[in-house]
């Protein structure tokens, strides 16, 4: 079932973030959400993830769904190793052996197995973001949300991360919603693209890529 946002209204005091906002997000596809900084993209993502409340409207297709979220920052526990960081999101659902096995599998996929016992401060920015990507995929989520996951990384690194991302996605397809303000990035791997503007948030344009 697709995610259907209907008549969404959200404001912070006098500041209206979105009003009468409607959007449909396809299941098992990668949807790119483009828009200028500050138009309310991150708020939209946080509302979908359940991290922020909205005043009125409805979102269908999220009941009982689980989420993974790749934030702008890596958000790794600084006092835990790469492996411990991935296991952290798994331990509430699996026993230790299973969590260990899954963590190892995803560390392999992002090519960080030999760094399993490194702490985040010992890794480069790109490596940390790869750990965050591995963590997001290792978690059995139905919907994967990404908020400018490649922001501030150089082109080579970005291409590499997008490659690892697509490799993971092809092996394990999920509904992906990602926010960016980089058109090339969106075109390079989204099936469906929404171009938003704000505020209040509205859809300016929509484009689909033949997949």
């Amino acid at each position: 079932m697709a995610i259907k946002i209907k008549n969404l209204y959200k404001s912070y005091g006098d500041l209206i973030v979105c009003q009468n906002f409607n959007m449909t997000l396809e299941e098992m596809k990668i949807t790119g959400i483009l828009g200028p900084s500050g138009c309310g993209k991150t708020t939209l993502l946080n509302i979908i993830a359940g991290l922020e409340e909205y005043q009125s409207g409805s979102i269908q297709g999220l009941e009982g769904k689980t989420f993974s979220y790749i934030f702008q920052e890596d958000r790794l526990l600084p006092w835990s190793t790469v492996k411990e960081n991935i296991k952290f999101v798994l331990e509430s659902r699996y026993d230790d052996n299973e969590a260990e096995r899954i963590a190892n599998q995803y560390m392999d996929m992002v090519g960080l197995r030999e760094y399993a016992h490194y702490y985040p401060r010992q890794l480069s920015g790109g490596m940390k973001q790869r750990v965050a990507i591995a963590r997001a995929f290792a978690y059995p989520a139905d919907i994967l949300l990404m908020d400018e996951p490649f922001k501030g990384l150089d082109l080579e690194l970005k291409t590499g991360l997008i490659e690892s991302f697509l490799k993971l996605w092809n092996q394990d397809k999920r509904t992906v919603i990602f926010v960016t303000h980089d058109m090339d990035e969106a075109l390079s791997f989204a099936h469906d693209i929404y171009i938003l503007e704000g505020r209040p948030l509205r859809i300016k344009d929509r484009g689909a890529k033949p997949s």
């Binding site: 991290l51 989420f67 934030f71 920052e73 526990l77 952290f88 999101v89 509430s92």
Partner: protein, 253 residues
Amino acid sequence: MKISTILKNKKTARLLVVIFWIAIWEIASLVIGREVYLPSPLNTVRALLRLSVTSKFWYSIAMTFIRVVAGFIISCLGGIILGIMCGLIKFLYELLNPLVIAVKSTPVMSIIIIALIWFQSGRVPVFVCFLMCFPIIWTNAVEGIRQVNRDLLQMAKVYRVNKGLIIRRIYIPSVTPYLIAGITTALGIGWKVTVAAEVLSNPKFSIGGNLYGAKVYLESSELFAWTSIVIILSFAFEYLFKYIIGKIERKGF
């Protein structure tokens, strides 16, 4: 050998600094020339040796030690538990904060005198130690909880990590450095205020009671000897605490 080469060895350097200040002490006492005002280091050591053969000396140290440990442990438990709760629940913080501020601004002497009215002499120092140490540990615990990274908590929420794991893996590692800082400060203060309270409450066996006795009989060398005992014990306590923390940190949480 040049002074700079000698000073390169840290332990030698430290020892030389200690010897330097003891020499200054010796010279000062020679200049003043009156044992009542400033006993010489040698006489202080002699007084210490004279005292150390009596059983009262060891009993006094043991009793003061127990009081400091008791006051300190109560402060730690109370400070950590209530501090964490107040860090998490704003209402509880608002309720407790004025009381803690009041206690913090109360002169130690007022607390000791009030405690003298309330408790029997042996318990006064424990109570005073608690009142002085608890606010420090509490304040640090509250601050530690407030400094917990909201982004990490949000991340844990999205991934539906259960409460126990969030406490163990996010809250505790964030709060620990604040607690260590608070506890270290409280340790040093704990010794000083416990002994101060003993001076006024004068329990049967106590370092403070002996300090008071030495002052009454103008036994300055004994006064200095007891004071040096407090300094040594306080120092040893802090050293031991840091050593234990170091061991735990190396093993990881």
